[in-house]
């Protein structure tokens, strides 16, 4: 979707605020929000892509106003409700519905180290023939889907060069909407800065994006 999250190339967002010796979490609630998100992921009721899209659905003014882990909390509440793990009434009251069954945590403390160490690879070991190869010139499609995509606006309809084939990965545009993983090749594609931004930028600079087969066509 053409949302506020798709920020590449925007002006007016201010100067970089660099904090020395920055803590991992600035306040205790941030750590708890982070932990809750992780723990609830283990129910496998949604995908990382669905989480990202849920954050993108936060209206622009809110997206810019609220804090980073506040976005997570807002998104997880929606995911948990859609996933049937809690009801909106429960979230609003903070109290489990009368007679609701007591569940079992999907992530017991003892499993935390193993869960962190194993991760959740997005690569898929399935046959999918690559549509492109290293060295090939490609053009990104000019798409404007209302749903989730990882093809940023600033890189649509642009010509670049495939630098390497990363292998086969799940496709976020479908996976975010529970429409299947649609595994396909992902490539590192190099775009010259001038192709993206015009003649005013440095001639030798470039931007690399990781692009799925469905985002590309031969140039």
């Amino acid at each position: 979707m053409n949302g506020i999250h798709d920020m590449g190339g925007m002006h007016g967002m201010g100067a970089i605020q660099h904090e020395k010796n920055e803590p991992v979490f600035h306040e205790q609630w941030e750590g708890r929000a982070f932990g809750l998100s992780f723990a609830m992921d283990s129910f496998d009721k949604w995908t990382l892509d669905a989480f990202r899209h849920q954050i993108e659905l936060i209206p622009p003014a809110e997206y810019l106003r609220i804090r980073y882990y506040e976005k997570w909390i807002a998104a997880y509440i929606e995911l948990m409700i859609k996933g049937g793990l809690v009801s909106r009434a429960e979230v609003e009251s903070g109290i489990p519905a009368q007679g609701s069954p007591r569940m079992k945590p999907a992530l017991p403390a003892a499993q935390v180290p193993a869960m962190i160490a194993s991760g959740a690879p997005a690569s898929r070991n399935v046959p999918a023939s690559p549509h492109f190869q290293a060295g090939q010139r490609v053009r990104t499609r000019n798409i404007n889907p209302v749903g989730h995509t990882r093809l940023p606006r600033y890189a649509r309809g642009k010509t670049g060069t495939v630098e390497r084939d990363h292998g086969v990965f799940v496709f976020p545009d479908t996976n975010a909407h529970f429409l299947g993983e649609k595994p396909q090749h992902v490539y590192s594609v190099r775009f010259t800065a001038r192709e993206l931004w015009g003649e005013q930028v440095a001639p030798r600079d470039s931007v690399y994006l990781d692009m799925w087969d469905d985002y590309l066509e031969p140039a």
Binding site: M7, G8, W29, G35, E62, I66, A74, A109, P121, F169
Partner: protein, 237 residues
């Protein structure tokens, strides 16, 4: 007018699905990605997250000890010191560096790192001719196993918006002025590949041990917004 604005914000919040009513008195009217500027704990957020945690624990969905373990892991065990060890090893051991650049996942796993948000790693090498820097314009993708959770500036609208269109301007704000003939490569983390910059080994560091080298390597250098200096000033950044 005030009512209208409140209504608009409240509507926006419910559209976003934040089911708990935010305390609108905390609207500061400016972007909040620079959280750290605020010293006062916004009690509404503390209370909201506490209430949510209690609910999930009471429903049996969440093991409180798991939350403690997660927070402890990312506060104390997984952070940029991991990446610094990888970089120092690459500087000290040319064969390791070759493995790191050819197959980052396996080489990083040699030092015991990997997993969540670092399942598919790539290492890009800075040289006098090429300077790499990493961003996620669409959200906040970052190589957790080697750098920990991202700092606020990396997640900020300022960095995400400008790093791709004006990387040299961003680097200047970090105090790094690159020669015009250096090629700047910006890596926008649009997929599940996670990037670690292998900074240039500082001149005059030949006599240092791998452990001493690791102390010099900063988080910012491994994101590609700084160089590694011989002094340890700012090594905690």
């Amino acid at each position: 007018m005030t009512t209208k604005r409140r209504d608009f914000l409240a509507g926006a919040v419910s559209a976003a699905g934040a089911a708990m009513t935010p305390d609108l008195s905390h609207a500061h009217g400016h972007p909040h990605d620079h959280d750290h500027a605020h010293q006062v704990v916004p009690s509404d957020l503390t209370l909201r997250v506490k209430a949510l945690e209690s609910l999930l624990v009471e429903k049996g969905l969440v093991d409180r000890a798991a939350l403690d373990a997660l927070v402890d892991t990312y506060e104390h065990k997984i952070g940029p010191r991991n990446g610094a060890r990888v970089v120092a090893r690459a500087w000290a051991d040319p064969a390791y560096k070759q493995r790191l650049l050819a197959n980052a996942d396996a080489a990083i796993a040699e030092l015991g790192y990997g997993g969540q948000q670092g399942e598919h790693m790539l290492v890009v090498e800075n040289t006098p001719q090429v300077h790499n820097m990493v961003v996620c314009t669409l959200c906040s993708c970052y190589p957790w196993p080697v750098l920990g959770l991202p700092p606020v500036w990396y997640k900020s609208a300022a960095y995400r918006s400008r790093s791709v269109i004006d990387p040299r301007g961003i680097l200047r704000e970090f105090g790094l002025e690159l020669p015009e003939d250096t090629e700047v490569r910006v890596w926008d983390s649009t997929a599940e590949l996670r990037y670690l910059v292998l900074p240039e080994r500082p001149a005059g560091s030949e006599h240092l041990t791998e452990q001493q080298l690791a102390v010099l390597v900063t988080r910012d250098a491994m994101v590609g917004v700084a160089k590694v200096m011989l002094t340890t000033e700012g090594a905690s950044a």
